[in-house]
């Protein structure tokens, strides 16, 4: 027996008390009575090496795609928690999604049902930063606030100020809104996000804005003398935004960073509270988040970074792989590697390595399908052709279409391919919600509930707890209770036919005639909810969003879905599919990043995006590209793609 089987024994003894060799369930592959699928004996040598790595040092676990890193992380956390003997401090496991949090949590709870009730923290990076830093101490930036509760209300930078009138209080020089202005720490610049769509974000630096509008300002009296004066004016306004208790998600992190840099005690005690911090998918850490962890690291927390810098695709969120690599390098993190990909076939692994320009050897363990090449490309004259061909192929191979995906680089490309209307999210949520609700099918009703929640949050401006439905913090019934309330509200709203009568009406008419009905129904159903304003007041809140009153009411319909779902690369990160087709634009003309050649030659980030897409499928990776000449075909075939005919 190899020496890692011994390690598995130690691990099993620590976690379940049995020991792998004595475990009766091991050979039969049945679930253990006590712990179900414990997965202890499936741990590989490299995973075990990490699980037994010392927690007294900083560790960088470089984990390739499909290497089961979250699983290894969960087991590591369970193992450390089992040996934990401090009552006052704990382990923090930070992830980027609730799904990953659940996986890690499930791993730990399987062995220690009570482990998570106390000192340990398993949750997302942002809930950690907000819960333990910003929403604890950043009240110091709310000057002169004497309220008993000085929490921040979080405002999404995406919100259109004209739909939430109160936000227009926080503007300066015409229409520079404070909730769209965020600090980018990597370049130490204030960035204005007019629209932070993935891929083609329209963002400008404050300096740019100054240069653009100084003409206009020159005509007005309040022209600032210099950029510095301009910036000071703007930041005073931002201060006011904070002082009044508002902050964007980005602000929340920036304020946490400011807390740590101004009050060293915070990092000191937080590091004592969490002497070990493990971060899953660490390549997604923004520079601000990295700085925050850096403070804790210097204050004594040992940090484990688990992830893959080759899959860093959030540079627009200021997650910069070079910075992360440098941090790990400079601070002498112990390096460990997981180089076995349990997801894909060797062929897919090899091609994706070339796409991602990865030097390390990675082993793919999945077996290929018999009747098809693993990696192919389809040439199309129209994009829809490629979608049709791919769908047929999926059928031929007997793969389930729900396990397959069509991947695109940007949301606009996604909308194009899936035939969705231009504005993905409606600006009149309540209208969209009643529209979708009366269609009475699951998918639409789900979306309707979400929009109704979003609308109520917009109107009432409560703190959001979690989930898609904008459930308020402190809502008595929790997420489910909230959804039930929304259901009741929608049912009652749809029972009033006048709400669904859009014929010849403009928005002003619609809101004008339905304002009381909506207010009445909402107030009645949410009478238990303490933040609901009284009827008369609420009626006043329900206003026609600015700039739309004269327009006629548009009926909102949910986007149609193609048989195989079209998804952006950012939303399939971390997921597994049987087959994936990555679709390129016909040319580079309209959008560089949507065109395949730029996936290989453009910005490094584009390569990483292509790599993320390429590492999702188990059996079939497909690129859909426009018709190619021989030279270009050569490029694509050199990567290992075979032409599909």
């Amino acid at each position: 027996m190899t020496d890692y089987s011994e390690k598995r024994d130690i691990l099993a003894q620590e976690l379940c008390g049995a020991g792998v060799s004595s475990c009766p369930y091991r050979k039969e592959d049945v679930d253990c009575e006590k712990f179900g699928k414990c997965r202890i004996w499936q741990k590989t040598a490299e995973q075990l090496e990490y699980i037994f790595s010392p927690v007294s040092s900083d560790v960088f676990l470089k984990a390739c795609a499909g290497s089961g890193k979250t699983e290894a992380l969960g087991m590591k956390a369970a193992y450390e928690i089992s040996r934990w003997n401090s009552n006052d401090s704990g382990i923090a496991v930070l992830t980027f999604t609730n799904a990953a949090t659940d996986t890690v949590r499930e791993r730990i709870v399987r062995f220690y049902p009570n482990a998570l009730s106390g000192k340990h923290f398993i949750g997302t990076v942002s809930s950690f930063i907000q819960g333990f830093i910003t929403q604890k101490f950043a009240y110091v930036f709310r000057k002169d606030c004497e309220d008993r509760d000085r929490s921040f209300t979080i405002v999404d930078s995406d919100v259109n100020a004209y739909n939430s009138q109160w936000l227009t209080n926080y503007h300066i020089f015409g229409n520079i809104f404070m909730h769209k202005l965020n600090m980018r720490l990597s370049s130490n610049e204030w960035i204005y996000n007019e629209n932070k769509n993935w891929g083609n974000n329209r963002e400008t630096t404050l300096k740019n804005i100054y240069e653009n509008i100084s003409h206009d300002l020159a005509e007005k009296e309040y022209q600032p003398k210099s950029y510095e004066a301009f910036e000071e004016n703007v930041l005073n306004r931002k201060d006011k935004f904070w002082t009044d208790g508002f902050a964007t998600y980005e602000d929340m992190e920036y304020l946490a960073y400011k807390c740590l840099s101004e009050k060293s005690e915070i990092a000191k005690y937080l590091a004592l509270k969490f002497p070990i911090i493990m971060v899953d998918e660490f390549q997604d850490l923004s520079v601000t988040e990295l700085e925050i962890l850096g403070y804790l690291n210097r204050a004594g927390s040992k940090i484990h970074f688990i992830g893959d810098l080759n899959q860093a695709i959030y540079s627009f969120k200021d997650a910069l792989p070079e910075r992360l690599a440098k941090y790990v390098e400079d601070n002498n993190f112990v390096r460990m590697e997981l180089n076995t990909n349990f997801r894909s076939t060797q062929k897919i692994v090899d091609v994706s390595r070339k796409i991602g320009e990865i030097k390390e050897n990675i082993t793919g363990t999945e077996r290929s399908l018999r009747n098809c090449a693993d990696v192919i490309y389809i040439e199309y004259s129209k994009e829809n052709e490629a979608v049709e061909k791919f769908t047929e192929l999926v059928h031929e191979l007997n793969l389930k279409s729900e396990n397959c995906v069509i991947a695109v680089r940007t949301n606009s490309h996604k909308d194009m391919l899936s035939g969705a209307p231009k504005s993905k999210t409606p600006s009149h949520e309540v209208i969209a919600a009643v529209n979708l609700w009366c269609k009475r099918n699951m998918e639409n009703m789900k979306t309707a509930i979400m929009y109704m929640g979003k609308q109520l949050q917009k109107w009432i401006k409560y703190h959001v707890q979690s989930g898609d439905c904008y459930c308020p913090k402190n809502f008595e019934g929790g997420n489910i209770g909230w959804e039930l309330k929304l259901r009741d509200i929608l049912n009652e709203l749809c029972a009033r036919t006048e709400l669904l009568d859009f014929e010849g009406k403009n928005y002003k008419d619609w809101y004008g005639s339905n304002r009381s009905t909506i207010a009445e129904i909402v107030c009645k159903n949410l009478s238990d909810f303490s933040e609901i304003p009284p009827f008369e007041e609420f009626k006043k809140i329900i206003r026609t969003p600015n700039g739309t009153s004269k327009k006629s009411v548009e009926i909102y319909s949910a986007p149609k879905k193609s048989e195989i779902e079209v998804m952006s690369i950012h939303s399939i990160k971390g997921k597994t599919y049987d087959a994936l087709m990555h679709v390129s634009y016909p040319s580079a003309q309209n959008s560089k990043i949507n065109y395949w050649e730029n996936w290989l030659n453009g910005d490094k980030e584009e390569r990483r995006c292509a790599y993320v897409a390429a590492t999702r499928p188990k059996y079939l990776l497909c690129w859909a590209v426009p018709e190619l000449d021989d030279e270009k075909r050569k490029v694509i075939e050199e990567l290992g793609f075979e032409k599909y005919t």
Partner: protein, 606 residues
């Protein structure tokens, strides 16, 4: 770490925010009934999640105005902790503000979807949206000793028996008792023939009555199967004497005297506190009215013990409420916190923060020395009249009755609301300072002569004499230049909201009374004069037989002087004279203006 303050709103009698500050170690809360002492203790119990506080909240605890028009629908309780050590800053991280003081908040709101029930939400620090770890509440201990109403009940078995608390603390989750009881049960049920027989009979009856299909079966045994249950069922028994050892000689507490049961209870409590010495966890000990049923010596003993516990346990903070002047006078005044309900909130005055002026240390010592049980009644009164000697202490309450009677008569006539008939009715105490130096006591109620800090918001009047120089004493006429140092402070004292000085217009208390009432005074003195005959008696008779009041100032002065000089002679004594005078006064007795003013002001009628 210690609780530096608690604030609450919407709870009991606090419509507005009430804030009470505490010191490290021992704190004594005192004040008249209904001032909110229990509210303070219960707010702390709720916030610190003391065991029994779970059941200790109902709709009646929400603030409700007397006319029931205004009701609170939620309660906010905030507890501030200061002086956290390094470990505590980590443990209570989620309670901390940016200066690493801890703040614990409890919001109790009505559960609107299930009326009559309440939701409790705990949060820490300054921001509700931050993370609060519920488990951290378990890192604070809270021991609550309710007022002792019935020692026997508290010592007998049951869930809330004090004895069970002590035992549980002692056993700390050790379950060995369960095994022992099980063994004993087995032994009993298997070996005792009569038990077996009884059990068999019952089981047969069950089967006979309802048949095998539906039947249940029973066993006869001690039913306690959990450690907690066993401990709750252990009873205290007693042996009347020291060192009883034979288990059969012990008797049930029901046969013991009330007094001794109280002692046994106190001893049990002490043994519980003794166990605190082993913990380094912050512990709040909340004790309500420990004096109930304890005679004064035991009260003193009790509070001294508590004080020694608080001194030897840096991690414990003890908060005691009391009605007992004995208890209040037995501890340092620094530990005292006076509570009063004013304008729908509790006004707390911590004597710890008081600065007495130039001679702060000396004055503090003086106060600690002279704050005896009699004088500490001033801390429980609704109004205080400080007097210089025994005569005033005896006569003033009687004069007050006359004043109040006449006030109420004219109030009635003019349609105003009448007030109480006597100082007792009004909750006003007359306190004899035995000397003119009542300045230091008065500084508790007002700031003058360099004193600083919070003042007890209770009206405190000082009645004092002008005390002219002996040389000037025999002179007749109007006000004499005073030698009483208090008089120099008169203006400053009177500028304070809760202090007033009332000075005799002429010379001294008895003299001033005699000027107003020569006949009554002379008669009274004559009745107590030791010799049956003689010049003095004759002169007194002469004075009393003169008309009610001689208009001639010279004569009046002479007579008053004569009465004053003779009643202070060693053969009579002010005390005896005063007692007889107090009995003999009637409606015709003329109360000097300065005394009437003092009485009416203290009673709030002026």
């Amino acid at each position: 770490m210690y609780i530096s303050s608690v604030s609450f709103k919407g709870y009991k009698n606090s419509k507005k925010l009430s804030t009470i500050s505490f010191v490290k170690g021992l704190n004594i809360l005192l004040g008249e009934n209904g001032c909110g002492k229990t509210a303070v203790i219960n707010a702390l119990r709720l916030a610190l999640r003391e065991q029994e506080s779970i059941i200790a909240f109902s709709a009646d605890d929400l603030y409700c105005s007397l006319d029931k028009k205004c009701r609170a629908d939620n309660v906010e309780i905030d507890v501030n902790f200061s002086d956290l050590d390094e470990d505590e800053k980590v443990i209570f991280y989620s309670w901390c503000d940016a200066d690493f003081n801890a703040l614990l908040h409890l919001d109790i709101t009505q559960n609107k979807s299930r009326l009559g029930t309440f939701r409790r939400r705990y949060w820490g620090g300054r921001m509700k949206a931050g993370i609060f770890e519920d488990e951290t509440l378990d890192r604070v201990e809270c021991i609550y000793l309710p007022p002792l109403r019935d020692a026997e009940v508290k010592l007998s078995n049951g869930k809330r028996s004090r004895l069970a608390y002590v035992l549980k603390r002692q056993f700390k989750g050790d379950n060995s008792l369960v095994d022992k009881v099980r063994d004993f049960n087995n032994e009993l049920t298997q070996n005792d023939g009569r038990l077996k027989e009884t059990k068999k009979n019952i089981n047969e009856r069950i089967t006979a009555a309802i048949g095998r299909e539906m039947a249940q079966s029973i066993n006869l045994q001690f039913s306690e199967t959990s450690s907690d249950k066993i401990m709750e069922n252990i009873r205290m028994v007693f042996f009347p004497g020291y060192g009883g050892a034979d288990a059969y000689a012990f008797r049930d507490l029901a046969t013991n005297s009330l007094g001794y049961n109280n002692l046994l209870y106190i001893a049990t409590v002490f043994s519980e506190l003794e166990m605190l010495k082993e913990t380094d966890r912050f512990t709040a000990v909340l004790i309500e009215e420990p004096e109930a049923h304890l005679h004064p010596q035991l009260q003193i003993r009790f509070i001294k013990y508590i004080q020694s516990v608080s001194e030897s346990l840096p991690s414990a903070q003890i908060i005691v409420t009391t009605h007992s002047p004995v208890l209040a006078s037995s501890v340092d005044i620094d530990k005292l916190i006076h509570l009063k309900n004013i304008d729908d909130s509790i006004r707390a005055t911590s004597l710890n923060g008081k600065k007495f002026g130039v001679n702060d240390d000396k004055d503090r010592l003086y106060l600690n020395r002279w704050m005896d049980a009699t004088k500490s009644t001033m801390l429980f009164s609704r109004g205080i009249i400080l007097v210089e000697g025994i005569a005033e202490a005896i006569v003033v309450p009687r004069l007050a009755e006359l004043v109040l009677e006449s006030y109420n008569r004219s109030a009635e006539a003019s349609g105003k609301a009448p007030i109480g008939d006597s100082l007792e009715d009004m909750g006003v105490s007359v306190i004899n300072i035995n000397g003119i130096n009542f300045k230091i006591f008065m500084k508790l109620f007002g700031n003058f002569d360099g004193s600083k800090g919070d003042c007890i918001p209770v009206r405190c009047a000082g009645i004092t004499d002008r005390d002219p120089l002996k040389a000037n004493f025999s002179e007749s006429g109007k006000a004499m230049p005073s030698t009483n140092p208090m008089c120099a402070l008169e203006r400053e004292i009177n500028s304070q909201p809760y202090t007033r000085l009332f000075v005799s217009p002429h010379k001294t208390f008895e003299y001033d009374l005699a000027v107003e009432n020569p006949s009554v005074m002379a008669e009274t003195l004559e009745s107590v004069w030791p010799s049956a005959e003689g010049k003095v008696k004759e002169e007194l008779k002469a004075i009393s037989s003169r008309h009610a009041k001689d208009k001639d100032v010279e004569n009046l002065h002479k007579d008053a002087m004569f009465i004053y000089e003779h009643l202070t002679s060693p053969s009579v004594g002010k005390g005896l004279f005063a007692s007889v005078l107090a009995k003999g006064t009637d409606k015709t007795f003329v109360v000097p203006d300065y005394i009437r003013d003092a009485v009416l002001w203290v009673c709030g009628a002026k």
